[in-house]
C-alpha cells in the first residue's frame, strides 16, 4: 500500500473516531477530558510543524501556547484603557499578539545580523520559555504572580454555552480539525515543500533561488499562531492560568507526544497526545506509585522500536 494511502486511511479513521467519540462516550466528564486532549493535540501539531516539518527543534513552545492563554486572561480580567474585552475579541487579540511576537522573534532569529540554526535556535526558544515563566511568576498584578489569573468568562459560541462537557468537546474537535487542515494544506503547498526541502538540504534550496529565511519565518509564525489559539481556548476552559503554563517543563512534555506519535506526520502527534494523556490520567489513578515507571518504560520501548514514531512507521514502513 502506498504511504499516501496509509496516511489517508489513518486520517479518515482518526476523523471518524473524533466524530463518533461523543456518541459512544456518554459520561460528560470523560468527554470533557478528551476535549482537553484535543486542544493539547493542536499544540502538538504546532510543534510538529516547526520541529517535524521545519526541522527546527524547539524547547520553548509552551511560551506560545501559554502566552495565548495568559494574554486572553489578561485582556478579559484586567481593567483600564480598552480592557476588559469580551471572550472572542480577547482571544483574537491574544492570538494576534502572539503571532506578532513570533514574527519579531523569528525575524530576529532568521534574518537578524546573526542568523541562527539548529541548536542555537533551540537554545533561544528555551530562553524565551524560561524568561516568560520567570516573568509570569514575578509579574505582580498583571500576571498574578505565582497564583496566576483566575478566568471568569465561559466559552460561548453565538450565545450557546460550550464551556463544559459535550459542547466543549465539539468546540475542541472543530478547532483541531480546522488547525489540522490548515497545517496539512501548508505542508502540501509549494511553501511547505520548500520548507521540507530546507530541512533536508538547506544549501540546495538556497541555490535554487528560494528565500530560505522567509520560509522559516512563515512556518514559525504559523506554528506559534496555532499554539496560541489552542492555548487561549485551553486556559479559558481551565478557568485559571499559572506560570507553569509558559514554562520549560510544559515545553518538553509536548516533544514527547510528537516523538511518540511520529514527527512530520501531523496526524501522529494527535495520536501521541491523546494516548499519552489518557494513559497518564487513568493509569495514575490505578497504579499508585508505579505508574510513572510503567509509562517511562513504555515510552523507551516504543521509541527504540519505532524511532520515527508510531505513525511515522506507518507512513514510511519498517525502518530497518
Amino acid at each position: 500500500m502506498a504511504r499516501s494511502t496509509r496516511v489517508r486511511i489513518a486520517e479518515l479513521v482518526l476523523l471518524a473516531a473524533l466524530i463518533v467519540a461523543p456518541l459512544v462516550v456518554h459520561d460528560a466528564f470523560t468527554i470533557d477530558r478528551f476535549g482537553r486532549y484535543l486542544l493539547y493535540a493542536v499544540f502538538a501539531i504546532s510543534v510538529d510543524l516547526i520541529w517535524g516539518v521545519g526541522g527546527v527543534l524547539t524547547f520553548g513552545h509552551a511560551a506560545f501556547f501559554g502566552a495565548g492563554g495568559y494574554l486572553a486572561a489578561i485582556f478579559m480580567e484586567r481593567g483600564g484603557w480598552f480592557l476588559p474585552l469580551p471572550l472572542w475579541p480577547a482571544i483574537a487579540l491574544a492570538v494576534a499578539c502572539v503571532a506578532m511576537f513570533a514574527v519579531l522573534l523569528s525575524g530576529l532569529a532568521f534574518r537578524g545580523p546573526f542568523p541562527m540554526r539548529g541548536v542555537e535556535l533551540a537554545v533561544i526558544t528555551l530562553a524565551v520559555a524560561y524568561l516568560l515563566e520567570q516573568y509570569a511568576r514575578a509579574g505582580g498584578r498583571l500576571t498574578g504572580g505565582q497564583n496566576g489569573i483566575l478566568i471568569g468568562p465561559r466559552l460561548t459560541v453565538f450565545g450557546i454555552n460550550v464551556h463544559r462537557g459535550r459542547n466543549f468537546y465539539l468546540l475542541a474537535a472543530a478547532t483541531l480539525i480546522v488547525c489540522y487542515v490548515v497545517a496539512r494544506w501548508f505542508v502540501s503547498s509549494r511553501a511547505g515543500l520548500v520548507v521540507r526541502g530546507i530541512r533536508d538540504n538547506e544549501p540546495r534550496v538556497d541555490l535554487l533561488g528560494y528565500h530560505v529565511p522567509n520560509m522559516k519565518i512563515a512556518v514559525f509564525v504559523l506554528s506559534a499562531t496555532l499554539a496560541a489559539l489552542a492555548g487561549a481556548l485551553f486556559y479559558v476552559h481551565e478557568g485559571i492560568i499559572t506560570p507553569g503554563a509558559v514554562g520549560v517543563a510544559a515545553s518538553t512534555q509536548v516533544l514527547l507526544w510528537v516523538a511518540l506519535g511520529g514527527r512530520a506526520t501531523l496526524i501522529g502527534p494527535i495520536v501521541g497526545t491523546i494516548v499519552l494523556q489518557h494513559l497518564t490520567a487513568t493509569l495514575s489513578g490505578r497504579l499508585l506509585d508505579t505508574w510513572i515507571l510503567v509509562i517511562g518504560a513504555l515510552l523507551i520501548v516504543v521509541v527504540m522500536l519505532f524511532p520515527a514514531g508510531v505513525l511515522g512507521w506507518l507512513d514510511r514502513g519498517p525502518s530497518r
Binding site: G145, Q146, D200, A264, L288
Partner: protein, 409 residues
Amino acid sequence: MAQRRHGVRRVAVGLTATALIGAALTTGTASATTPATTPPAGSAAAAPSGDPIKIGVTADLTGPFTIYGTSMERSAELAVDEINASGGVLGRPLQLVVEDTQTDVAVTTDKARKLVEQDKVGMVLGPIGSDAADALYKTVAQDAKTILMYPETYEGGKCDPMFFSTGAVPAQQIRPMLPVLQKEFGPKVLLFGADYVWPRRSFEIAKPIIKEIGGELVGEVYLPLIADDFTELVQKVRDTKPNYIYTLYPAAWGAALKALDDAGVLKGVGVGTTFLGDPGLAGLSTAAVGTYTALPFFTVAKGDGVAAFLDAFHQKFGANEIPSGGESLGAYNAIHLYAQAVAKAGSTDPAAVSAAMVGQTYTSPTGAVTMEPSHHLTQTIQLVKVGPDMKHEFVQAFENQASEETCTS
C-alpha cells in the same frame, strides 16, 4: 519523503532521547497521578452499611509537595478509619477517593472535576499549594457548588458558601508569636518574604499587630520565590539592625539563612516564621537554632489527643512516619468536621452541610476547634523553637486563637 538520510534519523533518536529525559523530569516534578479508591476502612464496630459517603482528596502525592500531600492524605485516612469504626455517618461508611495532583495546577483542576463529576463526592479535601487552591476554589466551590475543605496554612481572604479552611491563617499565628519574639529580642522587627500573595497579605496583617504591641517595623524585603542573590536582604539587615526578623520565605529559607549567617549579620538577631514545620528543618544549617515557628501542629505539639494521633499514625503507616504538620491536622480535622456536619444536616446536600458546618465545635488532638461564620477555624496554635539538636522544642500552646477573617457568606 520516501528517502530519509540516516543522519537525520540518528539525530531524531538523539532528540527523542533528550525529550524523554526532559519528560521524565517533567513527570517527576510537575505531573503524575496516583491512587484510586481506598476501600472503606475497618468497618468493625457498628459496621455501617448502605451507600458510602464519598470524600474526594486532591493530594500532591508526587512532585515538589509530595511530603505534605502524602501526609495530608494519610491523616484523612486515619480520620475516616476512626469514623467508620464507630459506625460511620447516618449509618453509612465514609469512603475516600484519592487522586494525585502531581503538584500541578492543571492536573489538580482536572482531578477535582473528575472527583466531583464522575465520582460524585460530597466534599473535596485539598490541595497544598495556594495556586492550586485558587483553582479549586473556582472549580469546586464556585462553579460546581461542592464543598471544598482546604487544610493548609494560607493567607486567608477566601470567601464562598462552599469553601472551608481548616488550616491556620495569618492573624492567629502572628498575634501570639510576635509578643514572644519582642520580649526575648526587642521591639525592632524586619519583615522578609517571598514575593507572592501569602507573605504579602501576612505582612499586611502583621503591621497593625506590631504597632499594637509597641513594636517598631524597621523594614520590609520581598525577594523572588527562589532567589539566587540575597545581597539586598543582607544589606537591609545590616542597615536597619532589627532585633528580630519575621520571615515567610518557604521555598528557599535554607539559602537565605546561609547568606545571612555567612554575612555575620545574625548575631543577636532573632528569627520567627509561620511556615517551618518538622520536614522544613531538614537541610537547614545550625544557624536555625533558636528560630521560633507558630503553626497548628508539630510532632512536639501539646494537647490531650496528640499522643493518640501520633500512635495511630505510626501504627498505620510505620514507626518512622510522622505527620508533616499543619496540613495533616487540618485534613484530620476537616474529615471529622465534615462527618459531624453531615450527621447534623441529616444529608450530604452541600447547602445543608455548609449551614450545619458553621458554629460547630469539635475536640481535635490539640484542643477544641470551632468553625467560625467566616468559614475559618478558631483553633490552638503551637509555638515551637529549634533546639540545639536541630529539632523543634515545644514553647507554648495558644488555645482558641480566632482567625480574625471577616468573610460573611
